[in-house]
């Protein structure tokens, strides 16, 4: 994968897909018939960002398992990079979700299951970095971080399930744009944005991984000259 596509090409590809997706969303997909109208267009970015955040945490989960099996620092680097990007995308999910909520229901925040899940996901993965910051020894830090990344990722669907199906009040406010009732034109626009966002994630992971490797090399060099 490393040499197949160059890093700048990945960014360009992601950009093309994202722009095309956006154009299609406004020009091709139908305007929402209900009260939301144009404000519903944010969905074409909101949902792909959410999907990408989960992909990032999923990759971190796999990297964590691989780290525990091999103790190879490269998996730890991948884990850090993915969690950081996942956190960034989660913050964007929250932001776009709140903007949408404001437009659709006139309120910035609603304890809606998906948004609530992402709020908790943000807390979870911020805790991942807090955990990393309080362990000095590198192997131990990587090991603990991996264990936590595994537990955290398992907890995400459980949290979603709990916020979606179990609240005491029982008045689930479900956003009904996703799922079965999506017309074809909408789906195409949505799908292209999703590809673009995933490509962006891959491009960012690669770039960040390069940065992390360089950081490690610098630290090694500093260490070898006794700095």
């Amino acid at each position: 994968m490393k040499q197949l596509v160059s890093a700048p090409m990945l960014f360009v590809g992601a950009g093309i897909f994202l722009i095309v997706g956006l154009l299609l969303a406004f020009l091709y997909a139908p305007i929402d018939a209900s009260t939301m109208g144009y404000s519903q267009k944010i969905f074409f970015y909101h949902a792909p960002i959410a999907e990408t955040a989960l992909v990032a945490f999923g990759v971190a989960f796999v990297a964590a398992i691989l780290y525990l099996r091999s103790q190879d620092p490269k998996w730890d680097r991948l884990g850090v990079v993915c969690v950081r990007l996942g956190l960034l995308f989660s913050a964007l999910v929250m932001a776009t979700g709140m903007i949408w909520g404001k437009a659709a229901w006139g309120t910035w925040w609603d304890w809606e299951p998906r948004l609530t899940t992402f709020l908790l996901v943000c807390f979870l993965y911020v805790a991942y970095f807090v955990l990393r910051s309080v362990v000095e020894e590198e192997e131990r830090r990587a090991t603990f971080a991996a264990v936590f990344a595994i537990i955290a990722f398992i907890d995400v669907p459980i949290t979603f399930f709990a916020t979606r199906f179990l609240p005491a009040g029982m008045h689930p406010t479900v956003i009904t744009t996703s799922g079965t009732g999506m017309p074809g034109s909408m789906f195409v626009s949505f799908f292209i944005s999703m590809i673009g966002m995933t490509l962006l994630l891959v491009a960012l992971i690669r770039r960040d991984l390069g940065v992390e490797e360089l950081k490690d090399r610098v630290a090694d060099l500093k260490n070898s000259i006794g700095g």
Binding site: E137, E138, E139, A219, D220, N223
Partner: protein, 248 residues
């Protein structure tokens, strides 16, 4: 003494075999390829300045740390792939007593006896407490013990399960002269029953006990010798290899 199943090492009389042992903490390589071995019944004294990697070596032998590279075998078992038999074979005495301060001597020993699956638990505990002159305090919580008494109890803890190999990490440090005498008396008593590896700053003690001597400096073995070196010439060797001059 020991479990008959553990006596099947007829092929070799080497109790400890270390080959190419490396260990890094983060970017710092603490052990840079150690190789040594120790015969059954031997007593290896390891010297070296602070931070040379002595304690790290001992902790790898004790399965508390995993080796970065190389093979380490204790009593014929690989410490990484097969740690359980190694753990049954070894006892560790360090300057940390590893005792629960809010439990009595008897409760501490009972706990460890259960953990090691000692069959004649009560008899063994009674025997050890008598041998270490702690019987009269057996039902007092360890918090009320003096440093020397704690160290004696720590020895009881370490040999409770009749280990074949005893690992000693600076056992004399922080002890008053009386406690040092007791410790030495005990070592003399159990000397024939065990193979020993002792990490120490104390050159006199290390030379007294050692059948094999070793100096580690900056993660490498810089000197190896069989026993029979007198104190003055060993000190000279030590100064020659170790330049920090902090010890001695």
């Amino acid at each position: 003494m020991s479990d008959p199943a553990d006596r099947r090492d007829g092929a070799t009389s080497l109790e400890i075999e270390v080959a190419g042992l490396r260990k890094t903490f983060g970017r710092r390589e603490v052990l840079k390829g150690l190789s040594f071995s120790l015969e059954r019944g031997g007593f290896l004294s390891i010297f070296g300045p602070n931070g040379a990697g002595k304690t790290t070596t001992l902790r790898v032998l004790a399965t508390l740390l995993t080796a970065g590279a190389g093979t380490v075998r204790v009593a014929g078992h690989d410490v990484r792939d097969d740690p359980m038999p190694v753990r049954r074979t070894i006892g560790l005495i360090s300057h940390n007593p590893m005792l629960y301060l809010d439990l009595t001597a008897h409760e501490n020993l009972r706990f460890y006896a259960d953990m090691y699956g000692v069959d004649d638990r009560e008899a063994r505990i009674t025997e050890l407490l008598e041998r270490l002159e702690l019987s009269h305090r057996r039902h007092d919580v360890v918090r009320t013990y003096s440093k020397g008494m704690r160290q004696r109890l720590a020895i009881a803890r370490a040999i409770l399960h009749r280990p074949r190999v005893l690992l000693l990490d600076e056992p004399h440090s922080g002890l008053d002269p009386r406690a040092v005498d007791i410790l030495d008396g005990l070592l003399a008593e159990i000397r024939d029953e065990h193979t020993f590896v002792m990490v120490t700053h104390n050159i006199a003690k290390g030379l007294d006990w050692g059948t094999d001597l070793m100096i580690i400096e900056a993660g490498r073995i810089v000197y190896e010798h069989a026993a029979g070196v007198d104190h003055a010439s060993f000190s000279a060797v030590y100064r020659e290899h170790v330049h920090d001059g902090s010890v001695l």
